[in-house]
C-alpha cells in the first residue's frame, strides 16, 4: 500500500472498501459456470483480489451473470438484482447476455440484458477465460474509482422504463415495484 492509496483510504473509505471487497453472487445460467470454479480455486484464486463468492444476494455487491438469459431466467435475474444492497455492480459474462450470442434467434432468449437491468460492464467472449474475470475486476476498480460504475443509480432514476421493459417481456410482475412512484416525490 503506497502513500497515494493511503490518502484515498482516508478520503473515501467506503469507495475503497467497495473496490477491494467484491462479494460476488454468481448467477449460473449457462455454460459460463464452467469458468467459475477454476477462477475461485487454486489455479487462478480470485480471493487475492478480494473477490469472494457468497451464498445470498443480500450479502453480495457484485452480480456476475454467466451465460444466456432466457425469459424464465430473466425473472430470477431481476429478483436477485433487486434483493442486492446498494451500491451494487452487475457484470455480464460471455457474449450471450450482451446480444444473445449464438442463441440470438431463439424465441426464448433475451437478447440484450441491459434493456432490463443496468449493467456496469461486459466480459465479451464465448467463453471468456478466467483471466478475463480478473481484467474485468481490475477494470471495475477504475470504474468505481472514477464513480462511473453507477448502474444502481441509473436503475433508481430510470426505474419506470426498466420496469416497463421487464413487464413487456414477462407480463404482469408478481412483486411490487422496488422504487414506488410516490417515494420519489
Amino acid at each position: 500500500m503506497d502513500r497515494n492509496q493511503l490518502t484515498k483510504w482516508i478520503k473515501s473509505p467506503g469507495n475503497m472498501g467497495h473496490k477491494y471487497s467484491l462479494d460476488v453472487v454468481y448467477f449460473c445460467t449457462g455454460c459460463g459456470i464452467i469458468e467459475i470454479p477454476p477462477s475461485i480455486t487454486a489455479r487462478w484464486d480470485a480471493e487475492r483480489f478480494g473477490v469472494k463468492p457468497v451464498a445470498t444476494p443480500r450479502q453480495a455487491n457484485l452480480f456476475l451473470i454467466t451465460g444466456y438469459v432466457s425469459v424464465k431466467t430473466l425473472k430470477a435475474v431481476i429478483r436477485t438484482y433487486e434483493q442486492m444492497q446498494e451500491p451494487k455492480f452487475a457484470v455480464g459474462f460471455g457474449s450471450c447476455p450482451i446480444n444473445g450470442g449464438m442463441y440470438w434467434d431463439s424465441y426464448n432468449t433475451v437478447n440484450h440484458l441491459d434493456k432490463y437491468i443496468p449493467i456496469d460492464g461486459w466480459i465479451a467472449g464465448c467463453m471468456p477465460r478466467p483471466e478475463a474475470i480478473f481484467i474485468a475486476v481490475t477494470h471495475l476498480w477504475t470504474l468505481i474509482d472514477k464513480e462511473i460504475a453507477d448502474g444502481y443509480k441509473r436503475y433508481r432514476d430510470k426505474y419506470k422504463y426498466y420496469r416497463a421493459n421487464q413487464e413487456k417481456v414477462l407480463g404482469e410482475l408478481e412483486w411490487p415495484p422496488l422504487f414506488p412512484e410516490d417515494d420519489k416525490k
Partner: protein, 295 residues
C-alpha cells in the same frame, strides 16, 4: 479506571478477533495452495459492509443482532487477559455459562422476524449444536471448579501461575482435551460449520443479513472467537501475566483450530450430536470423576 480498562479490553479483543479472521483466511488459502487475500481483508470487508445499504425486517431483526453482539462483548469483560480483569472478580465461570447462550439467542430472535426458511433451519441447527456442546462444557467447568475450589477465573489463573498449568497437570488433562474437542463446535468452525453451511442452506442465520447487519454479525463472530479461545487459555494454559504472552498462547490454539478447520469436511447435524455426546462428554465425565477421586 475500570471503564478505561474495559475499553482497552474491548479494543484489544476486537483487534485480535479480526486479526484471527484474516489469519484464518490466509492460512486456509495457503493450505489450499492459493495465494490468498491480504491479511487485512476482514477489515476491508467490515469497512465496506458499514458503507453499504442494509434492509431491515423489523425492530426485532435489529434488536436480535445487537443482543447477540452485546452478549459476546460482555463476555470479554469477565475474562482476564493478562493483568486486565475489570469484572472478573464477580461471577466468573457461572456468568460465562449464562451469557454464552445470548449469541445464539440473539440470532434466533433476529432470524424469526425475517421468516426465511434457511434461517429457521440454521437457527434450529445452532440450538441443537448448543445443546450438544453445553453438556461437555458443563462437565468441564464442574471439573475445573471442583479441582480449584473456586469459580473465579482470576483465582484459577493465579493458582496456575504458582503451580503447573492445568493442561499439564494430570487431574485436569482429560477436561482440557475435551475442551479442545468441543472448541470448533463452540466457534462454529469447519467440522461443525453446519450452522452456516453456505453451500447447503445459504449461510443459515446470516441469509437475510446484508450491509451493516452482516458487519455486526462478523464482529460478533470475531468477539466470539476471542472469547472461546481466551477461555481455554485462562482455564487450561495458565493465562498470562501480560497481554503479549497471552496473545501468543491464543495464537497457538487458534492455528491448531484452523488446521482442523482446513482439513475436515462438515458433519451432518446428527453426526455432530453423536460425536459431541460421545467423545468429549465421555472424556469430560472421566475427567470429572478423576478430579473428584484425586481431591
Amino acid at each position: 479506571m475500570i471503564v478505561l480498562e474495559m475499553l482497552i479490553l474491548v479494543i484489544l479483543a476486537l483487534a485480535i478477533g479480526v486479526f484471527f479472521l484474516g489469519l484464518s483466511r490466509k492460512i486456509m488459502s495457503r493450505i489450499h495452495w492459493r495465494y490468498g487475500p491480504p491479511i487485512t481483508q476482514p477489515i476491508i470487508d467490515i469497512i465496506k459492509l458499514f458503507n453499504q445499504d442494509s434492509v431491515s425486517h423489523g425492530s426485532l431483526f435489529n434488536f436480535g443482532i445487537i443482543l447477540s453482539l452485546a452478549g459476546s462483548i460482555v463476555m470479554v469483560f469477565f475474562l482476564p487477559m493478562g493483568a486486565m480483569c475489570p469484572m472478573s472478580s464477580s461471577g466468573g465461570m457461572l456468568v460465562i455459562l449464562y451469557i454464552m447462550l445470548l449469541g445464539p439467542l440473539g440470532l434466533a430472535l433476529s432470524g424469526g422476524e425475517a421468516a426465511n426458511p434457511n434461517i429457521s433451519i440454521g437457527i434450529s441447527r445452532k440450538f441443537i449444536l448448543a445443546l450438544s456442546y453445553e453438556v461437555p462444557l458443563l462437565l468441564i467447568f464442574l471439573a475445573v471448579m471442583t479441582h480449584y475450589g473456586t469459580i473465579s477465573i482470576v483465582e484459577i489463573v493465579k493458582i496456575q501461575s504458582a503451580n503447573l498449568w492445568s493442561f499439564a497437570s494430570l487431574p485436569l488433562l482429560l477436561s482440557g482435551i475435551a475442551y479442545l474437542l468441543i472448541l470448533p463446535a463452540l466457534l462454529g468452525e469447519r467440522p461443525f460449520e453446519l450452522i452456516k453451511a453456505p453451500q447447503e442452506i445459504s449461510s443459515g442465520p446470516m441469509a437475510e443479513y446484508g450491509g451493516k447487519f452482516l458487519a455486526l454479525a462478523t464482529l460478533q463472530h470475531a468477539f466470539h472467537t476471542f472469547v472461546g479461545i481466551s477461555l481455554f487459555v485462562n482455564l487450561f494454559l495458565g493465562g498470562a501475566s501480560n497481554p503479549g504472552y497471552f496473545f501468543l498462547k491464543m495464537l497457538v490454539v487458534f492455528i491448531l483450530l484452523i488446521f482442523v478447520n482446513a482439513v475436515f469436511p462438515r458433519f451432518r447435524i446428527d453426526q455432530a450430536i453423536k460425536y459431541l455426546w460421545k467423545w468429549p462428554t465421555l472424556l469430560a465425565f472421566i475427567g470429572l470423576i478423576i478430579v473428584v477421586i484425586v481431591d
